[in-house]
Subunit: 320 residues, 2 copies
């Protein structure tokens, strides 16, 4: 039996786990439905069994486990503070303690967006960066900040919530309780809601064809395809959300002057239209110093960032 | 002759210099009009003579000099890139090289807002903080970011431009060329312009009495006094700018989860009305994690931060 590293990405709908070697090569991965309505004990049991299954499959034992969770964690103990997207919200659940007892190795727990940033840092574009701002654009907008090669955590792993900058002071109510957060303006659901409105109003004929008139098939990706094939109203919606995202990126660039900004998550699959417009907004709005040396790029690890980050956490501990 | 440390704060209207011991105690200080229209050579000569005068006065020689300048500097060489507020804009002026030759010691040059942040870090409230966001609220709004006890610089000392976050995407044109920057909404001139409008419209009777009807006497401080004695319209103006500032502070707190936010510069002299409202906006808008442990305070070193920071730069070099 060789010693490998396990990562677990605990999501609202799916738990993904992977077993990797010390250089981050994923040798096996599995996933299972979270079913958080069964309560923390059942979900923790699922997480342990997922890793045990991977250990058997790879004929290994985990020498450390990293876990990404959707919310706040006490970093020192690996006990959750508050996971708002899971049933019962997981207040004070000793995730690290439980998994250490079950899996007989050190377990570290981190917010999932910070874990994704760590994945990009250790296994993606971040390897060539000194400082990086990372945005993960999905159902929510998470983020992470890297300064001098180190992921910024703060006491609760909560630093780097770049999706909850106020972009429009009187904008839409955000899930967090604030108004006009970047997340309320440029997350997947915000973009798709606008796409569905266009679909229903008849202003998006190509999108209508692409999704067969089915609102459930409207995604940032199908909207990008519709825009590319001539749906100008869809294009305008995508550019508007890219403008908001560009403002959010510009604010972070102004505050931190990083050499790299990475856009990850499903919404980044909009692709060139999004990235090009974000770059343009950054050039327009950051006027205090030249931004030619600030790269704005799409994630190199994509949706795998969260799991890779959890694995990176297992490998590196909090020394990254 | 003892060895002391010299700091120079180069401003658009005044050059201030000070001579200090290794613990930052200022033993002597002097200032002189900048008169930048005479050109960089003349101004550099004034800076050198100011330090020479202080050296004579304190019977010392400077063992190092730190300089704060209003703009971008190449940190490695101490050569200016661009100082927009000085006549001729000082492109590629070798400030460190000139002063080293004249004063026979190492000279380091840094942006003045970052120097002020360094002053607060080394000699003010920052001494008790692990991470800090610093705002200097004056004619412009500058800033600085401290992570794990270190002032963030970036390649040009330009990181930390917290006054140039976009707060209102379609807001007023800012001096930097962007629209709706915090600076365009909450700097001294923005607040005073609103105060003068109220003075002229007759909606600020107490302010009128306080300044004897003279628009030139309207300052954030006199406006705060007028608001305290019952000018509700003036109070509303101050609260509106405090709301914008609060959004800017909340954005930085959300991104960095610092344990301390410091408000310095002349506008901070508005005092409790400003600080209390900023704290309230931060609690309203930062919803992703508890902010009870994030202190928002008025600067402990006030207007002296810039000079103290230049002295700190002389003492510590770029190792802070």
């Amino acid at each position: 039996v060789t010693a490998l590293y396990a990562g677990i990405d605990l999501g609202g709908t799916t738990i993904t786990a992977g077993m990797a070697s010390a250089d981050g090569t994923v040798l096996a991965r599995r996933n299972i439905a979270t079913q958080s309505e069964d309560g923390p004990d059942a979900v923790l049991e699922r997480m342990a069994r997922l890793v045990e299954g991977l250990a058997k499959e790879t004929q290994s034992t985990p020498s450390a486990v990293g876990v990404g969770v959707p919310g706040l964690v006490d970093l020192a103990t690996g006990t959750t503070r508050f996971l708002p997207n899971l049933a019962t919200q997981w207040r004070d659940i000793p995730v690290a303690q439980f998994l250490t007892q079950r899996l007989h190795c050190p377990v570290r727990v981190l917010n999932d967006a910070r874990a994704a940033a760590l994945g990009e840092l250790k296994f993606g574009l971040g390897r060539s960066a000194r400082s990086m701002a990372f945005f993960t654009l999905g159902t929510g907008i998470g983020g992470g900040v890297v300064i001098d090669g180190k992921l910024l955590l703060g006491p609760l792993g909560a630093a780097g919530e770049l999706g909850h900058q106020t972009i429009l002071p009187n904008g839409p109510l955000c899930g967090c309780g604030n108004r006009g957060c970047l997340e309320s303006l440029a997350s997947g659901p915000a973009i798709m809601a606008a796409g569905i409105r266009l679909l229903r109003s008849g202003m998006a004929p190509n999108l209508h064809t692409l999704v067969g008139g089915d609102a459930n098939q409207v995604t940032p990706r199908s909207m990008a395809a519709a825009a590319a094939s001539g749906d100008t109203a869809v294009r305008d919606v995508l550019l508007e959300s890219a403008t908001f995202l560009g403002i959010g990126v510009a604010n972070v660039v102004t505050a931190l002057h990083p050499d790299l900004v990475v856009l990850g998550g499903g919404v980044a699959e909009i692709g060139e239209l999004l990235i090009t417009h974000v770059r343009q907004v950054v050039r327009q709005r950051v006027r205090m110093f030249p931004v030619d040396d600030v790269r704005v790029e799409k994630s190199a690890v994509g949706d795998g960032a969260g799991l890779l980050g959890a694995i990176g956490l297992a490998i590196h501990g909090f020394e990254f």
